[in-house]
Amino acid sequence: MLQGTALMCTRLFPEVEIMCAPRRAYSRLSAEPHAVSVLDACYRPAIVGVTIGTAASISSTSHVSIGLVASVTACWMFLVAIQVAAAWVTMPSASQRALGTARAMDLLFSGHAPWSLWLLGAAVWALALPISARDTRWLFASMIVPLVWNATIVFAFFRSALQLPRDAAVRRTIAHQVISVGSGLAIFGAAVAIWPRIVGAFAR
């Protein structure tokens, strides 16, 4: 009974299905008949943006308001734009794949849930723990979970949804992660002035 309910949930929600069994989910989802417009394809990136805005507002202020969440979402939307750019660059051209661009984008963003859940988890972490117990090293270390999980999902997307050969899927997954995660790290590095810190670490 319980197993049946769980199965129904995963079948109803692509995000859950993809997180549980990425390759099988992408095979099934990409085989289904569909029609995805550009507007439809914007839905999931928009939800990612809203999730970033909501989670960042909660973790940094312990509250939400229309103005606050709208501001934070607008500011951090560039992270979603990087994801879109990474997908755009690493996906084979339209003539080389069976799926349309909007449908492919929609499927790829269906696999963003590990990162979104991590952000929402970080917000709970910031709310629940007293200041003295907030050791950010553990929080940042936990990023390895969505990092690996998402890379697995991206690989499954290239392999099963776009039906690329294994080697090509690996190459494109690496390229996707380098662009998306690498850009994020580069921006974060610039924001924290990483270079003087590296110089300092080597000078010790």
């Binding site: 439809d40 909501t54 960042a56 507002s57 909660i58 924290v192």
Partner: protein
């Protein structure tokens, strides 16, 4: 399934609306840490400030205008935007207004060098980072600002040693005090070093706000002639400040500390997290809404 998503979106939006109502009611009922603005002591206006705040674009989560709103909510009169080695957020602020919602925003940067960090508050341009503490302090003064030793640990204090006389302030109250005893002891030792070298150095309390702890957790009470950038910088330069940590302890001139002791304790005891039933419900609704929307995306083929 479309109904489920609509319900989740409505839940999320309800959270935002309730949060906005809660924000307004807090602003009118003053259930946030009491601000000292308006209080006069010995002819000086007592202002509550957070002089070490990171913002977007940088490694802070909030843009300047949202920070101003948050500062007001947390009972602060002044915040300084101090991103690492850049002042982009100040440029962004200038596009809007330097004085936002009654909160005075100060330009600044956290000069991040290999050995120490130094707050440069009130500067009009960035300062090079590959220099000694004395040279950085001189450059900060030349740029029209005041220099504040930021969260000086043992290593930073060693690097600044001999230059504290050229520095205007030292962060005596910083969230590292709440992390562990070792960090707190290091900070105490560095402040003692600074005071030995420069007895009149301004004691500063800052939250070093980024994204995971509230703004104004530690704060500075500034005894300024009025609420202008010039007067605030003059007060810091003259050492008319009291640092206040998140446990309600004050650091600085005992007479001045006495004047703001109660306000500091009130700020420390006011819960930054989820104060108010309405705010709690708002956060819960928004979080659950976002959580649900993350997991319940549309299945195009079925619909």
């Amino acid at each position: 399934m479309r109904r489920v998503r609509l319900a989740l979106a409505a839940l999320w939006l309800t959270g935002l609306v309730l949060g906005s109502i809660s924000e307004r009611s807090i602003a009118t009922s003053r259930s946030v840490p009491s601000t000292s603005s308006g209080k006069i002591y010995d002819g000086f206006q007592v202002l509550s400030a957070d002089l070490h705040v990171h913002s977007f674009p940088g490694d802070g989560a909030l843009p300047p205008w949202a920070l101003a709103s948050e500062a007001r909510r947390r009972g602060l009169d002044i915040i300084a935007l101090t991103n690492h080695n850049q002042m982009l957020s100040w440029t962004l602020t200038n596009w809007f207004a330097s004085r936002s919602q009654g909160v005075l925003l100060l330009p600044g940067e956290e000069v991040t060098t290999p050995k120490f960090h130094m707050g440069a508050v009130g500067v009009q341009r960035t300062v090079g980072w590959d220099r000694s503490a004395r040279t950085v302090a001189a450059a900060v003064h030349a740029a029209g600002g005041v220099a504040i030793a930021a969260h000086p640990d043992n290593e930073a204090a060693r690097a600044i040693d001999g230059a504290f006389a050229d520095i205007d302030g030292v962060e005596s109250a910083h969230p590292v005090r709440h992390v562990n005893d070792k960090s707190s002891r290091e900070l105490d030792a560095s402040v003692a070093r600074a005071l030995a070298e420069h007895p009149g150095i301004a004691q500063i309390g800052s939250s070093d706000f980024h994204y995971l702890a509230p703004i104004g957790l530690c704060r500075t009470y500034i005894f300024a002639r009025d609420m202008t950038i010039r007067s605030v910088l003059e007060a810091i330069h003259a050492g008319r400040t009291v640092a206040c940590d998140g446990r309600g302890r004050t650091y600085g001139d005992p007479h001045l500390a006495l004047a703001v002791g109660e306000a500091c304790r009130a700020a420390a005891t006011a819960k930054p997290n989820l104060h108010g039933q309405l705010n709690r419900i708002a956060v819960l609704c928004a979080w659950l809404g976002a959580f649900g929307l993350t997991l319940a995306g549309p299945r195009r083929a079925i619909e």
